[in-house]
C-alpha cells in the first residue's frame, strides 16, 4: 500500500467561470509546481482524476439540476430557468462544458476515496475538490456539484463507512451539513467565521442536526478577526473530542485556506502557521482512529498567489511525512517562474513575515468569545461522554 496519492491533472483547470472570478483553479497548478520544485511529488504518487458518472452525481443532486447544468454548458439554458438553479449568477456564471468540468472535480474526489477505501493508499488528496456550498438542486457560492457530499454518500453506499467530515474553510460548510443533517452515520464539523456577516450566514452553534442525526452536526462559528492561537485552540479541542465521540471509519477533511489575513473575501486574521497544524492533527488522528484512512480535499482560498500554494503544499508534505521541508526558503525556481505572472509580490519563505498585520484591538474579547462558542458546540458531546 502506498503512503499517499495525489489526484491531479491539468484538465481540472477547466473548472473556470471567467478571468475576473475570484475562484481560480490556477492555484492547483501553482501548488503542483511548488511540490515538483521541492522534488516532493513522484510520478508514481500522482493519479489522474476520473469523471464522475451521472448516477454518482445523482447520489446527492436532483436529476433536473444535472440536466440544467449540462444545458447551461451547451449554452442552451435560458437565464430565467438558470436563476432557479443558482446558475448564471455573479457567483456561479455559466461557462462552456461546465457539467464536464464539475463532474471531473467530483470524479477526482471519488478517485481519492477509492484509493483509500480499497487500500491502495493510506491517504489521498484531491485539491480540485472541496466545493462545499453545492446544494441538492442548486449551485451556490462558486460551487456547482458538491463533491464532498457525493463522496460521503458514495462511501456510505459502497463501503458502509461511518464518515467524519471536518471543514476548516472560513465559510460554513452548509451544503455538506444539510445533506446529512439527519444522518447519524455522518458527522460534520465545521469551523468558520461567524455567519453574522459572512456568506452563507448559517453554521450557528445551535445547528446540531435533526431527528436521528441530532448531535452529529457540529458548528463552531468564530468571530471576525480571530487569530492563530484562538483558531487552533478551537480546532484542536473540537477535532479531538469529536473524533473520540464519533469513532469514524474514515476521515474526510475539507481544506479551504481562506482564513488567512490576506484572503480578500473573509475577515479572519490567521497566518500560514495554522495550515501546518491543521493537517498535522488530522493525520495523527486518522492513524489513531481510522486505520490511517484520510481523504483531503481543497476548498476556498482566494489569495491564490501568496497563501494557497504554500498552505496546500503543507497538506501533501504532512501526508508523506516530509514536514521538515516546510521551513526556510521556498524553492527559488518556483518564486522566479511564477513571479512573472503574479500581480503581487510572492512570498519567498514558508512562514509569513512577523507583524503581518497591525494588532487587533479586541483580541482578548474575541478569544474569550470563541472559547465560549467552543464550549457550547461541544456541550452535548461532553455530556454524552460523561454518561458512558
Amino acid at each position: 500500500m502506498k503512503e499517499a496519492i495525489f489526484v491531479y491533472s491539468q484538465d481540472q483547470l477547466s473548472y473556470k467561470f471567467n478571468d475576473d472570478h475570484p475562484f481560480n483553479h490556477l492555484r492547483l497548478n501553482l501548488t503542483y509546481d511548488l511540490l515538483q520544485d521541492l522534488h516532493a511529488l513522484q510520478e508514481s504518487q500522482i493519479v489522474a482524476p476520473r469523471i464522475a458518472s451521472d448516477n454518482e452525481i445523482a447520489l446527492i443532486h436532483d436529476k433536473q439540476f444535472i440536466e440544467a447544468v449540462k444545458a447551461a454548458g451547451k449554452g442552451r439554458l435560458s437565464p430565467g430557468i438558470a436563476a432557479n438553479y443558482g446558475l448564471g449568477t455573479e457567483d456561479t456564471p455559466m461557462f462552456a462544458n461546465m457539467h464536464e468540468a464539475a463532474a471531473l472535480l467530483v470524479g477526482g474526489t471519488l478517485t481519492a476515496v477509492d484509493q483509500v477505501m480499497e487500500k491502495k493508499a493510506q491517504h489521498a488528496i484531491n485539491l480540485g475538490g472541496g466545493l462545499h456550498h453545492g446544494f441538492r438542486g442548486r449551485a451556490s457560492g462558486f460551487c456547482i456539484y458538491n463533491d464532498s457530499s457525493i463522496a460521503i454518500e458514495y462511501m456510505r453506499k459502497k463501503y458502509d463507512a461511518r464518515v467524519l467530515y471536518i471543514d476548516t474553510d472560513a465559510h460554513h460548510g452548509d451544503g455538506v451539513q444539510w445533506a446529512f443533517y439527519d444522518d447519524p452515520n455522518v458527522c460534520t464539523l465545521s469551523i468558520h467565521e461567524t455567519g453574522r456577516y459572512l456568506f452563507p450566514g448559517t453554521g450557528h452553534v445551535n445547528e446540531k442536526g435533526s431527528g436521528k442525526g441530532f448531535g452529529f452536526s457540529i458548528n463552531i462559528p468564530v468571530d471576525a478577526f480571530t487569530e492563530d492561537e484562538s483558531f487552533l485552540e478551537v480546532y484542536k479541542t473540537s477535532v479531538r473530542e469529536v473524533i473520540e465521540f464519533f469513532k469514524p471509519d474514515v476521515l474526510l477533511t475539507q481544506n479551504g485556506v481562506d482564513s488567512h489575513y490576506y484572503d480578500p473575501l473573509t475577515h479572519l486574521s490567521a497566518t500560514i502557521d495554522i495550515y501546518k497544524e491543521i493537517p498535522k492533527l488530522a493525520h495523527e488522528l486518522a492513524h489513531e482512529y481510522c486505520d490511517g484512512r484520510w481523504i483531503a480535499v481543497g476548498g476556498g482560498g482566494y489569495d491564490m498567489w501568496r497563501v494557497v500554494p504554500r498552505a496546500w503544499a503543507m497538506i501533501w508534505l504532512e501526508m508523506i511525512n516530509k514536514r521538515e521541508l516546510v521551513t526556510g526558503d521556498l524553492p527559488l525556481s518556483w518564486v522566479d517562474y511564477w513571479q512573472k505572472e503574479a500581480p503581487v509580490q510572492l512570498p519567498t519563505t514558508w512562514s509569513d513575515p512577523d507583524n503581518l498585520y497591525p494588532p487587533i484591538p479586541r483580541k482578548q474579547e474575541i478569544t474569550e468569545k470563541n472559547y465560549k462558542t467552543l464550549e457550547k458546540a461541544l456541550f452535548h458531546i461532553r455530556n454524552e461522554m460523561k454518561m458512558k
Partner: protein, 214 residues
Amino acid sequence: MIIEEIMHTDVVTLTEDATIKTAIKMLEENRIRHIPVIDENNHLIGIVTDRDIRDAKPSIFHSDEHKEDLLKPISTIMERDVFTAHPLDFVEEVSAIFYEHNIGCLPIVEDDKLIGIITETDIFHTLVKLMGAHQPSSHIEVQVENITGKLSEIAAIFKKRKVNITSVLVYPCKDIQYKTLVFRVQTMDPRAIIADIEKEGYKVLWPNMPGVIE
C-alpha cells in the same frame, strides 16, 4: 407573515382540576414550559408555567414535608390573566407583546377557543427567516441620511450588479439624522458592490475593523 403560519396546533392542555403533580409530569414528558388550562368547551381559562410550578413545589430542603401540596389542583397556582393572540395577528405585533411583557409563550385563541400556541423560540426562528439569514447570503450595512429615497438608491446599485437581495432591514441610528440599512445579498463576493456603494459616497459600516464603530 401571520401567526397562523407558524403556530403549533398540537397543544398539550389540562383542565383546572388536574393536580400539580400531573402538570409536572406533563411538562417533563413533553419537554415544554407552558400548559394552557381549558374548560370542557375548549375555552382558555388560565395557564401554568414551569415557573409557577417551581414556586409551588416543596423546596428540596423540605422534600418530605408538604407532599400533599402536589395533590392540589392547578387552579390554585395557575395564572388567570393570560395574554393571547389571534391567528391573523402579524408576527411583528406578536413579537412586540413578547418584548413588552417579557413572556415566554402566547396561547392563540379564535372564537374564544384555544386553537394553538406560540413560544418565544418560534418567534425567534421566524425572525431569523424573515431576516433572510437562512438563505446563503452575505451581509452589508450602509449608513444613509434619514430622508426619502435612500433605500431605492442603494437598491439600484444592487440591481446594476445583478445581485439578488435576500432581505432588507432599516435600523434607526443613535443620531436621528441617519439610518442604517442592513442587506443580506446572494453573493459570496460582495467586494464589487461595496466599492460601488462607497463610490456613490455612502458609508459602509460593515465590513470594518472591530472597535472602530460603536
